[in-house]
Amino acid sequence: MESINIEKLIEKYFEGNTSLEDEANLRKFFTTQEVPVHLEAYQDLFGYFKTKRLETFEKQVLPTKKNVFTFRGLSIAASIALLIGFFILNPFTKEPSKEELVKNYQTAQQALDLISESLNKGAFAMAQLEEFDRAKEMVFKNNDK
């Protein structure tokens, strides 16, 4: 493009009267070829515009569904933990009275007595079984001989 033409276009540009097409021509002129010395100042300007248009936004545009899910999962887990903690450390359960403690103690003892009784029964039966075993061995020993 002729330098005189360009100069006219530059004047128009600074008046704000250039069309988008004119401006594209200016950018092309200043970024693709040797520029006359007296116009060098404008080279920076149009070069700058051109490079700035190339910048891109590289970050994630929307939060992924996964993130939303983990956040939700975390809140569910937290509320469950809170509930369990509440029941374990429930400050509203009342201390048992002395009578109740005695009664509990007695029932526990009764239960233990019952168990030991049946255990003894079993032990007696085992003793009988042992006796039988010994007798049997004597019999079989005699047979062997």
Partner: protein, 169 residues
């Protein structure tokens, strides 16, 4: 609206939103936050998006408003931050070194413009919107945009020529 359909709708202009936010907020991190914030706003409003004739212009308007609000609240907190995180694009190294100074000086000059001027320079000279679209985004008449644009460009030229003459480049 499904996520994929939404992304399809948003993808074409997400970079423009980001670049505008970066132009106005200057910090790259803040611009990223603003972009994500904006897309999230659109996503929440996804069922009403059909009502807008031009979703891109609507998104750009929202970006502009969001950034101006951010700047206002920052100023209210009396914070001044100086940023200098211009990322360089993929140009061969020698050229990058040589270009960086000049590109940085243009960047700094534009940074000194008023917010409205920055906004309009960004929309016209970088994003290449026509005047009607810019008018829709900014909310002022095309003729007023032409005037602001001309004034902004002339300020940039003045500073640029000054720098050239002092041989800073």
């Amino acid at each position: 609206m499904q996520q994929s359909a939404f992304l399809h709708l948003v993808m074409p202009f997400k970079d423009k939103v980001f670049r505008l936010a970066k132009r106005l907020l200057i910090s790259e991190a803040e611009a990223e936050d603003a972009t994500q914030e904006l897309i999230l706003k659109l996503w929440k409003n996804k069922d009403n998006l059909d009502k807008y004739r031009n979703i891109e212009a609507y998104a750009m308007t929202m970006t502009k408003n969001y950034c101006f609000d951010q700047l206002k609240s920052k100023r209210a907190d009396n914070l001044t931050l100086v940023h200098s995180n211009y990322s360089n694009t993929d140009t061969p190294l020698e050229r990058v070194v040589e270009l960086r100074d000049s590109v940085d000086s243009v960047h700094q000059i534009i940074e000194c413009l008023t917010e409205q001027q920055k906004l309009i320079i960004q929309l016209r000279d970088i994003e290449e919107y026509d005047f009607e679209e810019i008018a829709e985004i900014v909310g002022i008449k095309p003729t007023a945009i032409r005037v602001t644009l001309s004034r902004a460009r002339k300020t940039v030229r003045e500073q640029l020529i000054k720098k050239h003459q002092y041989g800073i480049n």
